[in-house]
């Protein structure tokens, strides 16, 4: 008998091991759902998959009776736009702060401790301040996401810049580059793939801030909808919405990974590592 830590599952077994818990969860859900629905066909807590499908289809295909919008697509579009704007704004700010702090010791002396402190501020705690400062419009929500992810990304990039071998910076100088050209031709191109990675890792937090902001002050959006429907115990809408958001998050993660591989073929196979 081989030791447990040396046993490698082969392909069919690997697939079976992946599918087993998923199937178990589905079956458990179906069993409880059927039991409740048999007792009370009006039960809202554990809706049948068919009910969820119908509700989702209605949200996606039939215009809302009051506004005439296709609510599902409206929510998705608005939420993704907020997410994209917030993350891009945060990432750009973080890129500038992180690179400056990591490369230039004089900038780092003031930025580095400042970023460490700012990163400790719980972003949701300043949501009221943002709502007061920027109103209840789009800006406050975008700012919450940007402020939420920027310190994390900035500190990550600062660390990555400092990890660049000192030899490279010396080498760049012996090849005629000053601070600016070293920044532009040595540091930035090597930091961009790391920025993509940092953004990918911060997307989870970004979704959290998006949904929190939409739950508190919004009139549309994925987060707004599920918190609105909570009042009606509309699990037939909340569950598919959650699944949809999970799918979107997974896709964004995948897309950023693919983009990184595509744009920076050298990344991950660096010399001398």
């Amino acid at each position: 008998m081989r030791r447990l830590l040396n046993l490698q599952p082969r392909r069919p077994l690997r697939l079976a091991l992946f599918l087993a818990p998923v199937a178990a969860m589905l079956v458990t859900y179906l069993a409880f759902s059927d039991a409740r629905l048999a007792e009370n066909p009006q039960d809202r807590l554990l809706p049948a998959f068919s009910t969820m499908g119908d509700t989702l289809l209605r949200m996606a295909m039939e215009p809302d009776r009051r506004s005439g919008d296709l609510l599902f697509w409206l929510d998705t579009g608005v939420s993704l736009q907020r997410l994209a704007l917030g993350v891009c704004l945060g990432a750009l700010t973080a890129l500038m702060l992180g690179v400056a702090s990591g490369l230039i010791p004089l900038a780092g002396a003031s930025l580095s401790p400042l970023l460490a402190i700012i990163a400790m501020v719980p972003p949701l705690a300043i949501l009221p301040i943002l709502l007061i400062a920027f109103g209840v419009g789009e800006l406050a929500k975008v700012m919450l996401i940007a402020i939420g992810v920027a310190p994390f990304i900035a500190r990550e990039l600062e660390g990555r810049v400092r990890e660049l071998p000192r030899e490279q910076l010396i080498k760049a100088q012996t090849l005629g580059a000053g601070t600016w050209l070293t920044l532009w031709y040595v540091v930035l191109p090597q930091i961009l793939p790391r920025l993509f990675d940092a953004v990918r890792l911060s997307l989870g937090a970004a979704w959290l801030f998006l949904i929190a902001a939409e739950a508190i002050a919004s009139t549309e959006g994925l987060g707004y909808r599920i918190f609105l429907m909570r009042r009606y115990l509309a699990m037939d809408l909340i569950l598919p919405y959650v699944a949809w958001m999970t799918g979107l998050a997974w896709f964004l993660d995948y897309a950023l990974r693919a983009l990184n591989r595509r744009l920076f073929p050298w990344y991950g196979a660096e010399a001398g590592r």
Binding site: Q173, L175, G176, W266, A271
Partner: protein, 253 residues
């Protein structure tokens, strides 16, 4: 001319003396190999010549002028690792120095005819180090020996007066090492720059160098080893014609 002189150069970190009383005149075109035990200050010596560190005592001049306070294109360097930029292809790595020095301060790159001339120059250099086939590959896809040859070409593109080598072939297997030695010897013979190579491989020092310096502590205080630093304990000229001359000595009758 690019004569390198060190006058009474010393380097200390706080109370720890690393190097002391280094006096040296290297004629232009010398291939100087520096050997010494680990911790003898070889790397510090090289950092002083690169201006990565400033000596705490004494002065260094290159071609009669004080050594610039920061690294610059008059001095080239090849390290054992991290010598080439991982995000640039082999050809782009060679173009790096040419682009930065020929472009303006804002963009640091060239366009049009100037750019084409520069690419041709870079391709010639790639050919000189035998990497033409690898022009569009990233360093991560090159072997250690190829990376070091690329690093040499990248540095030589700017025709530095002084070439500094920090154990450049220390990580190579014997075969690759020999190829690299032959290449370096040939490039040095063609271009005649002054070379300072730090190594801990004695045979490498004597096969390549025309002058071998040994760094070691002259004075030792067993109670506080940090009190005295290393200095040049041996300064050996390597006369390449010597074996030939010995052979031509008429036999004793």
């Amino acid at each position: 001319m690019s004569e390198l002189t060190l006058k009474n150069v010393g380097m200390r970190y706080g109370d720890t003396v690393v190097l002391e009383r280094l006096n040296l005149i290297l004629d232009s075109g010398t291939f100087c190999a520096v050997v010494g035990a680990s911790g003898a200050g070889k790397s510090t010596f090289l950092k002083l010549l690169l201006s990565e560190l400033q000596p705490t005592e004494g002065s260094i001049t290159l071609g009669g002028r004080p050594l610039p306070q920061e690294p610059g294109p008059e001095r080239g360097v090849v390290y054992q690792r991290y010598s080439v930029f991982p995000h640039l292809t082999a050809l782009e790595n060679i173009c790096f120095g040419l682009e930065r020095t020929q472009g303006n301060a804002l963009f640091g790159r060239t366009w049009g005819a100037k750019h084409r001339v520069l690419r041709t120059e870079a391709r010639d250099l790639l050919e000189a180090v035998g990497l033409t086939a690898a022009a569009d590959r990233y360093p991560g896809a090159l072997s250690g020996g190829m990376q070091q040859r690329l690093a040499l070409a990248q540095t030589l593109a700017l025709k530095p007066e002084l070439l500094l080598l920090d154990e450049p072939f220390g990580a190579l297997d014997p075969g690759n090492k020999q190829t690299a030695h032959a290449l370096l010897k040939q490039l040095w013979a063609e271009r005649g720059m002054t070379v300072v190579m730090v190594t801990h491989d004695l045979s490498e020092a004597f096969t390549l160098g025309t002058r071998v310096l040994v760094l070691d502590k002259v004075r030792e205080d067993p109670h506080s080893p940090e009190r005295f630093g290393a200095s040049i304990t041996y300064d050996l000229p390597v006369d390449r014609s010597a074996p030939l001359r010995a052979a031509s000595v008429p036999p004793v009758s």
